[in-house]
Each structure stands twice: as C-alpha cells, then as structure tokens.
C-alpha cells in the first residue's frame, strides 16, 4: 500500500497537532496540582525595605568582644575553620584602619583608630558589582529587602564575584569544608557548603525570616557596637545613629553604596 504525498502530509499534520495539544494538556494538569498551593512570609519574620548595619568598634571593649561576634556568625552558618590563610573562609572578620579605609589614613591619628581592628563583613551594596558579573544569577540582590544573597545551589565557582568585590567579602571553598566544621558546634538547621562554591555573609536572612536579629548583632548586644535596622525607616536604630553621629562607609569613591556604616572613634571607650 502506498500513500500519496498529500495523504502523508495530512496524517503528519494531524499527529503533530494532537501531540502538541496532548503535551500542553498534560502540562496544565500537572501545573494544577501545585497551583492550589501558595507561598507566604512567616508572620514573625522581621521586615525592612533596606537592611543596614552600623558598626561602632569603639564600643567593642576587648578582643573577646570581636571573637564573640565572629564565633556566633561562623557557628550559625557552619563556616569552616581551615586554619590556613590561603584557604580561609570568612563571613565576618577584622582588619586594620588602613586596610578598611585605604587612602584615608595619615600620621598621628588617634590611638583608637590606629590600633583598633575594624569588623568587616559583606557590605550588601546598593550597586553590588558581584551581582553584575555572576553568570548564573547565583548571587543576586533581593529586591524586597536589599540583601545581596547567594544561592549556593547555582554557584559554579567561577569566582568572578570575588574579583569584582572591592571589599574582599567573598571566600572560595578550595577544599571540602565539612571536615573543618566541629561536629559539636554544627548548626543542623543551616547547610554547609561544597567544594568549589563561593560564600559570604548573608545578613542572617534565614534568622530574619524567623524573627531573629543577625547572629553577630545578637552576640555583642550588650556593647551596642553593632546595630541593625531598616535604612528606610527613620525610627530604626540605624537611622538614629546616622542622625546623631558621623559615620563613613568603605570605599565610597567606587559608588557601590555599601549598607554597612562605621562610626569612627566616636565613643568614650575608644
């Protein structure tokens, strides 16, 4: 039996149409099951339009205070302690004044400024260069609250973001971090990272969703050295400090508009 060209085209046309129609109908059915569900914000979550932090290192009295803030963060996020500066993974760390605010130092500054280490973390910039260069959108700026986030699932480890970040806020997992996280302090509610992934401070967004302040802020609450709040809310503790004290941000000339502000030598403990 042979069919004419016309017959063949007819049959081909009909089967294609059926096939396409069938596939979309199936997709519809499948979509339905999930459409019935919805996603919501937890009621006790902390809300803000633009999260920001003020760091007043003058209020940190001793090395112990710094350590409390850093340990709290690194424990909350299962940050490994590899013990060698080349492979170091850091979310919050310290550095000197000259390294924190390069080019603004001069001879004979106050003792507090010259000798006190500064607490550094991701600046959660308004114009984050790391977000611009990320080829997979693993790093992105969350529109709802301004946090520069990382989706570790998507990170392919190209390290463009590390090159782009002018603040050195990003660390690469050169080796599997698991063996370097202490079993007894591991936070079972937060993941670790895998080898080949970049990581950084996330402003404790997972804690904010549970209605908790960032781990570092909580840890040194008694000193008042770290303040956290909504930059858009005039009543927030952050805005209160910005109103009453002179603050600076890191490398303003780059135009990244950091969300972390520093009070320089403004306190009596300084």
């Amino acid at each position: 039996m042979s069919i004419s060209r016309r017959e063949f085209l007819k049959i081909a046309g009909i089967t294609t149409a059926l096939g396409l129609g069938g596939a979309t109908a199936l997709d519809r059915l499948r979509g339905k099951l999930l459409e019935a569900a919805e996603y919501k914000r937890p009621e006790d979550a902390l809300k803000a339009k633009h999260w920001a932090m003020v760091v007043d290192v003058g209020l940190l009295r001793s090395g112990e205070d710094y350590k409390r803030a850093i340990d709290a963060c690194h424990r909350a996020h299962n940050v490994p302690n590899i013990g060698n500066p080349k492979d170091e993974v850091k979310w919050i760390w310290t550095d000197t004044y000259e390294h924190t605010f390069p080019g603004t130092g001069y001879k004979h500054m106050t003792e507090a400024v010259e000798e006190k280490p500064f607490l550094l973390l991701c600046n959660h910039c308004e114009n984050p260069p790391c977000v611009k260069v990320c080829p997979t959108k693993a790093t992105f700026k969350r529109k709802s609250d301004g946090i520069v986030m990382m989706d570790f699932h998507r990170c392919i480890g190209c390290r463009y973001c590390m090159a782009a970040c002018p603040f050195g806020a990003r660390s690469f997992n050169w080796r599997d971090p698991r063996p370097f996280i202490k079993e007894e302090t591991i936070n079972k509610e937060f993941p670790t990272r895998a080898i080949g992934v970049v990581e950084k401070c996330n402003f404790c967004e997972e804690r904010l969703a549970k209605g908790l302040m960032p781990a570092c802020v909580e840890a040194v609450k008694d000193t008042g050295a770290l303040l956290f709040g909504d930059l858009e809310d005039p009543e927030s503790p952050v805005r209160e400090v910005l109103r009453s004290k002179f603050t600076i941000r890191r490398k303003p000339e780059l135009g990244t508009q950091p969300s972390v502000y520093y009070v320089i030598g403004g306190s009596e403990n300084a």
Binding site: L33, A37, E38
Partner: protein
C-alpha cells in the same frame, strides 16, 4: 564480499561487547525499593500526612523541593501553604528530614535503585541515623 566472514565475525564481537553489561546484570538479584516511613516522629503523628499527597510527593518531590528553594531564597517566602490550606515551614533539614530522619531507608532506597544521585547532601546536613 571478499572479507564478508571477517566483517560478520567482527560485528558479532562488537555486538557482544556492547551488550555485555546487559548480560552481566541478567539474573542478578535486584531488590525492589521499599522506602520506609517508620521513624519515631512519623509514628507519633496522629495523621500520617506529608506536606502534599503521597501520590504527588512520589512523582513531584523534586519539583516541590526546587520550588521551595526558590521561594525561600529568592522571594523570602518561607512558609508553604499546601492544597489543603495547611502551613509548613520551608526547609529540607528543618521540615523534611525532621520527619524523614531515615535518609538511608527513605531517600537512598529509591535513588539507588533508579541510579540517580541528587547532590543535596554535599551541603545539607543529613540526620544522624543509628547504625543497625
């Protein structure tokens, strides 16, 4: 067809080699996956229900997990309201593995059978299981 014999013999050898894995596994006992939900937490539940129906979870848990990840991370929406209107906190470690604390008998059972290797556990911390 001067070399016909050689070609046919060569072809037979090739087909034999290429299908060797199938013969190799032929007759090898392959236990059917039998995922268990007999964890302490699930045993205490009055109503043994996952966040969605069993049929949906069986076929679509990977899609649901992807949606959960994107919702929580990207949109800051950490609560999942299921088709019945019940709310669940989003989190693989926090919510899923809290009930299904038997990863070996729940996750691995089928994943191994199907030879899929999801990389969840490269980062997410699996629940501690008692060695039996």
């Amino acid at each position: 067809m001067q070399d016909g014999g050689k070609i046919i013999v060569g072809l037979l050898i090739f087909v034999g080699l290429a299908t060797l894995p199938f013969y190799y596994n032929l007759g090898a006992p392959m236990a059917k996956p039998d995922p268990k939900i007999d964890t302490p937490v699930i045993k205490e539940l009055a109503e043994k229900k996952c966040v969605e129906t069993k049929a949906f979870m069986r076929g679509g848990h990977m899609k649901l997990l992807n949606d959960w990840r994107d919702s929580a991370l990207r949109n800051d929406l950490w609560v999942y309201v299921n088709a019945e209107g019940k709310s669940h906190a989003i989190g693989l470690q926090r919510t899923c593995m809290n009930c299904h604390s038997n990863k070996k008998k729940f996750c691995d059972e089928c994943h191994n059978y199907m030879a899929v290797k999801p990389y969840c556990w490269n980062c997410h911390i699996e629940p501690k299981e008692k060695e039996i």
